[in-house]
């Protein structure tokens, strides 16, 4: 049985179609990522699967339960970490866990055992009796994840789990999430607009933009569609001078807003030739970078836009993109 099956799920807000006939499956034990810019429909999709919103049309089964006909069944079998914090800051970490365990009617003995075990797993045992208001952002996230696992869900939803966290904490969290999915064999759906997060964590990725899923595959396969290497050149002169650039070793040329990217095999050996051609054509070059294809390039390929341009967000996002490119 699939952990999650989604068929043509659609949600409209007035005239705006937030999620447009989205379909995908998730295997048991798989980490599935919904990758896309802010406002692409990731959270709306997750909210429908978690029975927080009801879809306008389409169908979805979560752990075998229909999200419209069997809400309690769905709720019992999912754990969810919301994008925004959802802890009670006036309670201790332990009490937040306990509240959750009681709410899900876990018998006392099992509850206490699991609480110890999970707090240990996320490294919060020493801080369990401190008020949550004294926790750092990363600790809160870890506590929320531990809490979401307390009732042994079959599917765990993580909505932008590392949003606003520093790089070191993000790395820790990724480790935890990987460990969890390995040790407990639960399916994880996570949404993110961080390329490196999706790349590092997910077994498969659905790229979502403007409410539609435009590609689903493993990160490796997605990147393979881009060819071997990518040369990204920053230049204002795309049209006329570059668009028709087609030596036989170039596989694809795409432009976006002051950059253009060239997909090819063996970028290093062709770089000097490429530069020579560009200089001959009197193209202004502000910068050149050579890298293996990233999910950013994949997103660009499918949407014609960069993730960081399509969202309304933050410098941080831009920084992350640059980091991703450097690797």
């Amino acid at each position: 049985m699939k952990a999650v099956t989604v068929v043509d799920l659609t949600k409209k807000f007035g005239d705006f179609t937030a999620v447009d006939r989205v379909s995908f499956d998730i295997e048991q034990g798989e980490i599935f990522g919904l990758l896309g810019p802010n406002g692409a429909g990731k959270t709306t999709t997750i909210s429908m699967l978690a029975t927080i919103l009801s879809p306008d049309s389409g169908k979805a089964l979560v752990a075998g339960h229909d999200i419209q006909k069997d809400q309690p069944g769905v709720r019992k079998s999912i754990g969810i970490v919301f994008q925004d914090p959802s802890l009670d800051e006036e309670l201790t970490g332990w009490e937040n866990m306990d509240f959750h365990g009681r709410l899900y009617r876990i018998p006392k003995k099992i509850r206490l055992e699991r609480m110890e075990e999970l707090l240990d797993l996320v490294g919060l045992t020493e801080r369990k009796d401190d008020f949550v208001k004294t926790y750092s952002g990363g600790m809160r996230r870890r506590l929320e994840i531990a809490r979401g696992l307390l009732h042994r869900p079959k599917v765990l939803f993580l909505d932008e789990p590392t949003l606003g966290l520093d790089p070191q904490t993000r790395n820790y969290l990724w480790d935890y999430i990987e460990k969890l999915s390995n040790e407990m064999n639960i399916s994880v759906i996570l949404t993110t607009h961080y390329m490196d997060e999706a790349d590092r964590l997910c077994d498969r990725i659905g790229i979502i933009d403007r409410g539609k899923i435009i590609a689903i595959d493993t990160p490796e396969n997605l990147k393979k569609t881009m060819g071997g290497d990518v040369i990204t050149i920053r230049s204002p002169d795309y049209h006329g001078r570059i668009a028709d650039l087609k030596p036989n070793w170039i596989e694809k040329v795409e432009s976006y807003d002051g950059f253009f990217s060239i997909a090819l095999h063996g970028a290093e050996e062709h770089l000097s030739e490429l530069i020579r051609i560009l200089v001959e054509r009197q193209v202004t070059i502000s910068s050149v970078s050579v890298h293996k294809p990233t999910l950013e390039d994949v997103f660009l390929h499918y949407t014609g836009r960069r993730i960081r341009d399509s969202g309304n967000s933050a410098k941080e996002q831009m920084r992350m993109t640059y980091r991703a490119r450097r690797h």
């Binding site: 927080i52 709720r75 802890l87 009490e95 959750h100 709410l103 899900y104 009617r105």
Partner: protein, 249 residues
């Protein structure tokens, strides 16, 4: 039942931890009791009900602190909404009515504690200790006021997005309910129009019920008080539960 208890427990824990809230919400009732009570004690006598004005004021002030605490506890779910904690509760496989009842009983409990503190402090300003039966009657009425007005608070909070409207509730709901309740003046002495407003105010029956518990006399028959307050609280639970069911995450 265990879910209701869980939510009740959280409310009570949070309340007992917020010392500043406990002390803060004692301020106003005590201020009324002491300034108003002693200020007017020598000029005001209310022959049929009680010998001195401070004594007359005590049930009203107890009700006042129960009223304030309970409405505030109900409205508190707006904070839960804003801090995101409500989502955690709403997405759990529990029914809305359980959540609402837990919140109601939690709010009522804190309100009773708050009222009891005022009651105990009143012993120092001249309240004679009634029998244990009298205390129990007073507690019963405090509980009914607490349940009714916490539910009202939840009903209001279910329709509000943020705390911006809270001042409005303070000015146009809580204060009128308190002011018209006969907490500060005998109902008999009011002009007819005010008297009917006072008799339409559910808190009036709470004040008189507590008065009967503490002194054995009241301006309204205690059974009437019990009947009215029971109906009010039950109605409010239904209204609160109905509106809370529609709350969106």
């Amino acid at each position: 039942m265990d879910v209701i208890y869980t939510i009740w427990l959280r409310n009570v824990k949070r309340y007992l931890r917020s010392r500043s809230r406990i002390v803060g919400s004692l301020g106003m009732p005590l201020f009324f009791l002491i300034i108003l009570g002693f200020g007017l004690n020598s000029v005001v006598t209310i022959p049929s009900v009680s010998e001195n004005y401070v004594e007359f004021l005590v049930p009203g002030i107890v009700s006042m602190s129960v009223l304030f605490t309970s409405i505030f506890s109900g409205v508190q779910i707006i904070w839960d909404k804003q801090f995101g904690f409500l989502k955690e509760t709403l997405v759990a496989p529990v029914s809305r009515i359980e959540i609402m009842l837990g919140q109601t009983f939690g709010g009522a409990t804190t309100a009773i504690i708050q009222g009891t503190i005022i009651l105990v402090l009143s012993l120092f300003v001249g309240l004679n200790i009634p029998g244990i039966g009298g205390f129990l009657i007073a507690f019963g009425f405090m509980a009914l006021i607490g349940v009714g007005f916490t539910s009202l608070g939840i009903a209001i909070a279910s329709r509000m997005e943020d705390m911006n409207g809270f001042q409005l509730i303070m000015s146009f709901l809580i204060f009128p309910i308190f002011g018209l309740s006969g907490a500060m003046f005998p109902i008999e002495s009011l002009p007819p129009m005010f008297r009917s407003l006072t008799l339409a105010d559910p808190l009036t029956y709470g004040v008189e019920g507590i008065r009967f518990g503490l002194y054995g006399v009241s301006q309204i028959n205690p059974l009437t008080c019990l009947g009215v307050l029971l109906s009010f609280s039950t109605a409010m639970i239904f209204v609160g539960a109905f509106l809370f069911r529609k709350v969106k995450m």
